[in-house]
């Protein structure tokens, strides 16, 4: 038995134990078709425009620092106490030297509230509309050309902005309220502990020249508290709950991700338990305090100890951020001023 076809065509051309020309052509053709098919299929599957973390030819973006108004004379943190939102916010910002220290004429200011839930303002699970109104008025008074407010609540952004009362403030003061849309996101690249490449609500930052974080002070089921640092979580897209496994790491990563112009912690009414959603007025404690500053680690440190009235030793993300040089957890070491509204 021989593999060589016994026909006249191949006689004298093939080695005794080789294959015939026809069979070789068939095999080579099949192999070629297989290779070509693999290449075509691979090309079909490849998504050149899709950001796949780790493929180095396409980098994600990094947010620029929005810090402004550094001063050796003026405080970096202010604590104001009072019964009224507007006056207390005004007192805190005034103690820092006024909003004009941070905002210049013509600035486009992005204010990031916490609108994670469709809860009414009284339950203190979201940024209070009175706090937004007070801050926005000060920003406009300092000469800002435009204010953008934006957040990415996972559940129904329109419902969250409506029920939290922030949409009404946006309408009232003519603020640009940006809802997250599919094309509002861009890849973010960071060298965080866990936050390295992720989709990010980028649209509000395309034109913003200054950024202010405006967060409620509240209990959180997973990371003990949600304050100014945790507030930036609301800018992430995708199934961000995956980070809940490493919640302290990612919250500390936000101090690396975002260098805001100013952060303001609303401690007028503090959600002391059953956070981050709350649901009962009995969960809320009136504390009548606004903390503003340029170091969110210091601001949160004050909030945790003096507003939530807890032991800072248990707040892992504060220690992580401090140890990474992203802020100072020892808020008393900051140049701070405490005032009464």
């Amino acid at each position: 038995m021989s593999t060589t076809p016994d026909n006249g065509e191949n006689q004298g051309q093939e080695p005794e134990n080789g294959i015939g020309r026809r069979e070789f052509i068939l095999r080579a053709g099949a192999a070629g078709a297989l290779v070509a098919g693999s290449i075509i299929a691979g090309r079909k599957l490849w998504q050149p425009n899709h950001f796949i973390p780790g493929f180095e030819d396409q980098k994600g973006l990094q947010l620029p620092p929005y810090t402004f108004g550094a001063s050796k004379l003026l405080p970096t943190m202010a604590i104001a106490h009072g019964p009224d939102h507007e006056k207390t916010v005004g007192a805190a910002i005034g103690a820092l030297g006024g909003m004009s220290r941070f905002i210049e004429k013509g600035d486009i200011v992005m204010i990031k509230p916490n609108v994670a839930f469709d809860r009414p303002p009284a339950l203190a699970a979201t940024t209070h509309p009175d706090a937004l109104r007070a801050v926005a008025n000060l920003v406009f008074a300092a000469g800002a050309a435009k204010i953008i407010i934006a957040d990415n609540p996972i559940n129904s952004p329109t419902g969250c902005f409506l029920k939290s009362g922030l949409r009404q403030v946006a309408n009232e003061l003519n603020l640009d309220l940006l809802y997250p849309e599919t094309n509002s996101f861009a890849p973010l690249q960071l060298t965080g502990e866990v936050l390295k490449n992720w989709t990010f609500f980028h649209e509000p930052f395309k034109k913003a020249t200054k950024v202010i974080g405006l967060a409620p002070c509240k209990d959180h089921n997973l990371c003990h508290s949600s304050m100014t640092m945790k507030n930036w979580y609301g800018l992430l897209g995708g199934r961000r709950n995956q980070f809940h496994q490493h919640i302290h790491s990612i919250v500390s990563d936000f101090a690396l991700m975002m260098k805001p112009t100013l952060v303001i912690l609303d401690g007028m009414n503090v959600l002391m338990k059953n956070g981050p959603t709350g649901g009962r007025l009995s969960d809320v404690k009136p504390m009548g305090t606004i903390v503003a500053g340029t170091d969110m680690v210091a601001v949160d440190s004050y909030g945790y100890t003096h507003l939530l009235e807890r032991d800072i030793a248990e707040l892992t993300y504060i220690h992580k951020a401090h140890d990474r040089g992203l802020g100072n957890k020892n808020w008393k070491e900051a140049h701070y001023k405490e005032v009464q509204a």
Binding site: P15, G18, S38, D118, A122, L123, G159, N274, R280
Partner: protein, 409 residues
């Protein structure tokens, strides 16, 4: 001339040679190498892609599955009924009457041979948390509430354990810890109250015990009792109660009288529509109310006080004659209660002094001193309970004796 005869060895060699190609053309060799390299390259590329996973690319969109859910609705084979219980589980199929069923239940139950309900009753009250739901799995039926003066603000929202975080984000793990099954939520605007609304949340857990567990965890110690649900209270901006395996929250947008009236009407409506089921909660109901510290009732499913024989235990703190006492209670069969009492007594005797106390109304009682603390444990007719970790032995004993005599209720 005839060819020489071929020997068997020669024939084998000839056949073997026929399958061996010793002179493969160089083009074919190169082709083979290229193919092998390509296969290896594809393998490496797949591996590399697997190392750099983009969660957004492959994330599950549960809403995409909605279209398939209709196909299985009404198919009993997809439900875990009594006959479909897992090994080791006891169950009794119990079909609530139509009058007891919620609107969702009524619709879901149509055409189904069994409601799919499994409860801890049927002689297995001692392990209520291991049984399944007191109501059929929630089908995605809209929440319709026919009360004058309110209007739905949007569609009913549905969540399951996989996407609950979309609604309540970081609070979700607390609910999932109590075997959360489904959430149905809808908002209603209130006529005549400007911008006012009421949010309704119906969290369904797997058992009434777990629904109670979550309810107790979030309970407002200052809440006022309500008359339409035994496990419930009203707060300044809402109504909260546990009914069956459901934990229901009715949250008003403000304290406006009209809004609160609407909220109460909705709460009453919801309480009526959910079947009453207290399976596994008998022990909690026997906990005395006198002196109970608000918000102190807890449920321990296994190994209460580190003892394997203490299962499905309810415990609560009490203020009693100036002392704080911790009282616990377990309901089981008389034999198991007696055996557990004996085991507890034996265990306590290994680490301290045990004293038998006189029976009170047929209840056997022992007192033990362990590590500077006192416990007084009784058992009677399938009930085991007592005071643990007491600093004042006399008050612990007095409390237990008064409870057994019915003086503390």
């Amino acid at each position: 001339m005839a060819p020489p005869p071929v020997t068997e060895r020669q024939a084998k060699k000839r056949d073997r040679n026929a399958f061996v190609r010793t002179k493969v053309p160089i083009v074919e060799r190169i082709s083979a190498v290229v193919i092998v390299l390509l296969i290896a390259g594809i393998g490496i590329a797949i591996w590399m892609k697997g190392q750099r996973w983009d969660p957004n690319l492959y994330s599950l969109r549960t809403d995409a599955l909605n279209s398939t859910s209709a196909a299985v609705q009404g198919k009993a084979g997809t439900l875990r009924t009594g006959s479909g219980a897992q090994p080791g589980e006891e169950s009794v199929v119990k079909e609530p009457t139509v009058a007891q069923q919620s609107p969702a239940v009524k619709n879901a139950g149509e055409g189904e041979p069994a409601s799919g309900e499994m409860s801890g009753e049927g002689g297995n009250e001692a392990a209520p948390a291991k049984t399944a739901s007191s109501a059929p799995a929630a089908k995605n039926e809209p929440m319709e509430i026919a009360i004058p003066g309110i209007k739905p603000m949007g569609k009913t929202e549905f969540y399951n354990p996989d996407n609950l975080f979309e609604k309540i984000d970081g609070r979700a793990p607390a609910y999932i810890g109590f075997n959360f099954q489904a959430l149905r939520s809808r908002s209603f605007s209130v006529d005549g109250a400007d911008s006012s609304y009421v949010d309704v949340y119906e969290y369904r857990m797997d058992t009434p015990v777990n629904a109670f567990g979550m309810f107790a965890l979030e309970r407002d110690p200052n809440g006022k009792p309500i008359d339409f649900a035994p496990d419930g209270y009203s707060g300044e901006m809402g109504f909260f109660f546990r009914q069956g395996a459901y934990y229901v929250q009715i949250i008003a947008s403000d304290q406006n009288a009209k809004t609160m009236t609407a909220a109460k009407a909705i709460a009453v409506d919801r309480a009526k529509s959910i079947p009453v089921d207290n399976a596994g909660l008998d022990a909690r109901r026997r906990l005395p109310a006198t002196g109970m510290i608000a918000d102190s009732v807890t449920f321990v499913q296994d190994n209460a006080q580190g003892q394997a024989f203490l299962k499905s235990v309810f415990q609560a703190g009490y203020q009693y004659e100036g002392a704080k006492l911790q009282f616990f209670l377990m309901v089981t069969t008389p034999d198991e209660a007696a055996a557990a009492w004996t085991s507890y007594k034996t265990f306590s005797g290994k680490f301290g002094k045990v004293t038998d106390l006189p029976d009170v109304k047929g209840a056997k009682i022992f007192q033990a001193e362990n590590f500077g603390k006192c416990k007084v444990i009784y058992q009677r007719e399938g009930e085991l309970g007592g005071i643990v970790d007491a600093q004042d032995a006399a008050k612990a004993r007095k409390f237990v004796e008064e409870y057994l005599q019915g003086q503390i209720r």
